[in-house]
Assembly symmetry: C2
């Protein structure tokens, strides 16, 4: 497998995907043709508008971007693709659409057979066992929460540390993940903005300059250093 699974598409003060481009071009050897999956529709934008945004971002590398919605057979599009990118937005919308179109199995088969995969945010959530650690609002009801299970753990993208001086009484991210662990025996990686998980063959590593917060099923919680290798 050859994947970059990123917490966010965009970091503060920088353009869409900008911080990731050096790594995308190095790790994937400058992809030339990209199949884009726009189903998560951030802010509710259309598949066309989202695909155009990605096309514009990849102009600097001369890559051609086509949205999966442009194909009569999305399954075939996935089977034939050399590089697949799933963008962020609403994870419920993304997972519902992928289940309804029957694309989870074909996507998993493509990735495990060697098709390069880039995911950001919602597009990263789906690489886990299920989508039960998303931060998104459940604006639609998917037929299942099960996901690709390419990682044998879940990620929580846009991971946020508790704010020391907050007066807000809603749950912190850590509290939410601990509630998840009471109901599920699946480790969770809290991935901060600017971090990504790299799958290179069988090796799964933490990349970027930040630590990640790991929640194990036995209750242990720790900070993994950059380049940490995941072995759950």
């Amino acid at each position: 497998m050859r994947c970059i699974i990123a917490s966010t598409s965009t970091i503060y003060g920088s353009d869409y995907l900008e911080y990731l481009f050096p790594e995308i071009n190095r790790f994937f050897n400058q992809p030339k043709e990209i199949l884009f999956i726009p189903y998560a529709r951030p802010g509710g934008i259309s598949h066309d508008a989202y695909t155009a945004k990605v096309q514009k971002a990849f102009q600097s590398t001369n890559a051609i971007v086509r949205g999966i919605h442009e194909y009569s057979s999305p399954k075939e599009a996935i089977q034939k693709a050399k590089f697949i990118f799933t963008g962020g937005g609403n994870t419920f919308l993304l997972v519902k659409t992928l289940h309804e179109l029957g694309l989870f199995n074909v996507l998993k088969k493509a990735i495990t057979s060697g098709t390069s995969y880039l995911g950001t945010s919602a597009g990263s959530n789906i690489c886990g066992v299920n989508m039960k650690t998303t931060n998104d609002m459940p604006i639609v009801y998917p037929p299942s929460f099960e996901c690709l299970n390419i990682l044998n753990f879940n990620i929580n993208p846009h991971y946020l540390d508790p704010q020391a001086n907050s007066t807000h009484k809603g749950e912190t991210r850590e509290t939410r993940i601990k509630e998840f662990l009471q109901q599920n025996k699946i480790p969770v990686v809290g991935l901060r903005e600017g971090s990504w998980i790299e799958i290179n063959g069988k090796e799964i590593s933490l990349r970027g300059e930040l630590t990640a917060r790991i929640f194990k099923t036995d209750g242990e919680i720790f900070e993994a250093q950059p380049n940490y290798t995941f072995n759950f």
Copy 2:
């Protein structure tokens, strides 16, 4: 109907339910026996521990609190109750349990027949049309997102305004609610901590000292003043 539907159980710098007690005692005429629904399990605590917490809070008013899990027939417990309180926690867990036990219909019938109802956070979310505007993490998969529909709109509890100086790239609450409205024709009331909705007979009003943020299905967004009457 006679309901208090609160954004939060607890406001900053104050004990559990403390800010609401004057209103609970006035509006419900000091309830004496309370049926408590602990299924949302905040922080994953047990039904017993959660019920004990509520019992302790109501000690000052000499009310007797019993958890619905203590009854052999939760349906009958709801039918016989004079006052029902559903506490906060995880909305997915609450809604899953209520659906699995078949309690939504009986709870709706009780409330619309005049049983007093107090809800906080997740216990307030379930008064809306569905749970698609919860902030909670989808740690379990409910058989349906449909809810009590006692309100003909949804609420978003613990409503948070966008932070002016935030460097975080996750979606703001307003962005999430706008995404909901692209998929659902249901108005949303962003209810800030310290606010509650009062149902008194057929009148539905905003209570507390804060404004609430209203998201209408036609795209209009406005701030409703305290004592605003909801007429969607």
